[in-house]
């Protein structure tokens, strides 16, 4: 058993850290405040190969693995969650379905633009009446003259409404007891992206409701066999959880790093507050929990890369890290005192950004269901 990262992975981790600290950190507060999508950062991440890390070079990807992807997500989230989720949702939700289930034509048409980050991919699963109960899809698609005609609405969709959004993969009911996935390119008449939500956090990331009204796409936009949509999205969510779990570890680590630096420099009662046992206990607990959670995330990534079952470990990692991120962000704010409540300090943003990690890509309660099922309970 080897806990050291392979050399290439270690170098990637460092590189992403340097990029995040050098290029993302200086603008993160402004992007959040102005709710501005990070186009320039996405462009540069695309050039560096980070918008398509786990996809092979033949389809334009960087040829990395899930571990490399998780490390990059972690290091981005350590500095800014909006940037991290943009890359993360694009990769594991937007691009992954086409890579896994697409025909050669669909891959050739879409993957080079997606894996290079020139275009963003989105995944439209959630609906007003289908969240945790994602199978309760109401959006319908019927075949008419060689085209799918789509009617319905999607809720809370990441990456669908930016200037560079290329497509959304949606689940739709193609028969009474039949869910299928369809590719809907941006610009298709009848496909509209609503106004961005006013969110608690993830302010620089794009999240919108989508509507489909008599929206027509070619029959060939069906993704994988008709009726396989349910199975497909469960698999996509399994993979996605590794990325979101890496976001939790990253955010928690960022919160700890900020809190430690602040505690060493802030003085009270004539001493740095880091010398008080109460503060040290918080820092020590955070550090121990983060390291444990990190190992769980890397294990899930490693299992997937080895082609072994990873559903249980990924759900455990997601459950563990979402809560951890929320708790570490809270402790980091606490250590900052009043300054932690002020937006000049990154921990203030971290506190707002953390909460979604116990909700998105399957709530904690859903993870518990997945885990309990795997335990045979």
């Amino acid at each position: 058993m080897d806990f050291d990262l392979p050399d290439g992975h270690e170098l990637l981790r460092r590189t992403v850290r340097e990029f995040a600290e050098g290029e993302v950190a200086p603008v993160a507060e402004a992007l959040d405040r102005e709710k501005r999508f990070p186009y320039e950062i996405v462009r540069r991440m695309g050039e560096l190969g980070w918008m398509g890390i786990p996809f092979p070079e033949e389809v334009g990807g960087a040829g990395g693995d899930t571990l490399a992807y998780a490390l990059a997500v972690e290091e981005l989230a350590r500095v800014d969650s909006s940037v991290a989720i943009t890359m993360c949702a694009h990769t594991s939700l937007g691009t992954q379905p086409i890579y896994l289930f697409g025909t050669d034509e669909q891959k050739a048409q879409w993957l080079p633009d997606l894996t290079s980050g020139r275009r963003l991919g989105a995944f439209g699963l959630t609906e007003p009446e289908a969240g945790s109960d994602a199978g309760n899809v109401r959006t319908r698609a019927r075949l008419e003259d060689g085209e799918w005609v789509i009617d319905g609405a999607k809720q809370f969709i990441t990456n669908a409404g930016t200037d560079i959004s290329g497509l959304v993969c949606i689940t739709a009911r193609t028969g009474e007891d039949e869910i299928s996935n369809l590719i809907v390119p941006n610009g298709t008449p009848g496909y509209e992206q609503g106004e961005p939500y006013r969110k608690m956090g993830w302010n620089a990331s794009d999240t919108r409701p989508l509507t489909f009204t008599g929206c027509r796409v070619p029959e060939a936009n069906l993704l994988g066999p008709r009726g396989n949509g349910f199975k497909q999205f469960l698999h996509i969510l399994d993979i996605g959880r590794i990325g979101v779990a890496a976001m939790g570890v990253g955010l928690a680590q960022g919160a700890l790093d900020q809190a430690l630096a602040y505690a060493k420099q802030r003085r009270a009662f004539g001493r740095p507050i880091s010398s008080f046992q109460a503060i040290q206990a918080k820092l020590a607990d955070m550090s121990a929990e983060i390291e444990a959670a990190r190992l769980l995330v890397y294990k899930a990534a490693r299992l997937k890369d080895a082609g072994r079952p990873f559903t249980l470990t990924a759900a455990q990692a997601k459950l563990k890290t979402g809560r951890l991120a929320v708790r570490c962000a809270e402790e980091a704010v606490q250590i900052h005192g009043g300054y932690g409540y002020i937006e000049e300090y990154p921990v203030c943003r971290f506190y707002r950004d953390a909460k979604i990690l116990t909700i998105g890509e399957g709530t904690d309660e859903v993870q518990q269901m997945v885990i309990a099922r795997a335990l045979g309970a």
């Binding site: 050399d7 170098l11 990637l12 590189t15 560096l48 190969g49 960087a62 990395g64 490399a68």
Partner: protein, 263 residues
């Protein structure tokens, strides 16, 4: 032409530096990284290659260091070097600046480069001198603290940071140039470049391979002796004087200095 870039593995900038009380030397355990100044040297080499005014056929990264220093070479090749050379030998441990410069120069002689680039200082030792030592052994002109390189026919026109302003110096090749961090913005290596780094040739040399005279290297071959290095004493908390009435404040400062017999 061939450019050799000298690189070094150093403790990561994020690691707090401390003196190892047992050896009286810098504690180099903990996370390591490629010396940040060296990334500027590699970038300078890449810009010369990509600029097209010189026909650069090859960029070779060279390091002297323990086994772990391979990682610095990996980073160097991910940043654009075509291949790398790792000089590593127990006999080299403990070499001072003069011995290190000699050993590197011996390694460079095997490569016979037209230009040697390096960072002006290392993040750990901060001696600023390796470039000059290497140049002396190679009998090549040496420029230090260079912050701009322009190709002009056969010469390189360099600006070097001086105490006030810049010196503009022209140098003919072969030459040894150490660069400052103002010279460029090093690129980030792409993931493909990182993954490709392991596939680029890496040559490992012993001191004997490089034709190094063992009496001139290592702790024994070094003139520098490490005496008793100690970490500086921790600073006591200062006194903060609120400036309510400036006259009073001045009086307080004078009294404070006077008490300590500083004035």
């Amino acid at each position: 032409m061939k450019i050799c870039v000298l690189v070094k593995e150093v403790p990561d900038a994020a690691v707090t530096k401390r003196i190892d009380p047992a050896t009286g030397r810098l504690d180099r355990s903990g996370e390591k990284n490629l010396n940040p100044y060296d990334t500027h040297a590699i970038e300078a080499a890449m810009q010369l290659k990509e600029g097209g005014q010189l026909q650069v056929d090859e960029i070779v990264a060279i390091t002297m260091g323990p086994e772990s220093a391979v990682r610095a070479l990996h980073k160097a090749v991910s940043l654009g070097a075509d291949r790398s050379v790792h000089l590593t030998d127990e006999a080299l441990a403990g070499s001072d600046v003069a011995a290190t410069g000699y050993a590197l120069a011996q390694t460079l002689k095997r490569e016979n480069p037209d230009l040697v680039l390096l960072g002006q200082q290392s993040d750990d030792g901060e001696c600023y001198t390796i470039g000059a030592v290497v140049a002396d052994h190679l009998q090549a002109p040496s420029l230090t603290q260079v912050i701009s390189i322009e190709v002009d026919g056969d010469v390189l026109r360099c600006e070097r940071q001086a105490e006030y302003g810049y010196d503009t110096v022209e140098v003919e090749l072969p030459a040894v140039i150490s660069v400052g961090d103002a010279i460029n913005e090093p690129r980030y290596p792409s993931l493909k470049a990182i993954m490709g780094a392991k596939k680029k040739p890496l040559e490992t040399l012993s001191a004997a391979d490089a034709g190094i005279d063992l009496s001139r290297v290592g702790a024994a071959g070094s003139q520098v002796e490490c005496g008793s290095f100690k970490a500086p004493p921790a600073k006591a908390a200062g006194t903060i004087i609120e400036d309510e009435d400036t006259n009073e404040t001045v009086e307080k400062i004078v009294a404070w200095l006077d008490e300590r017999k500083l004035i």
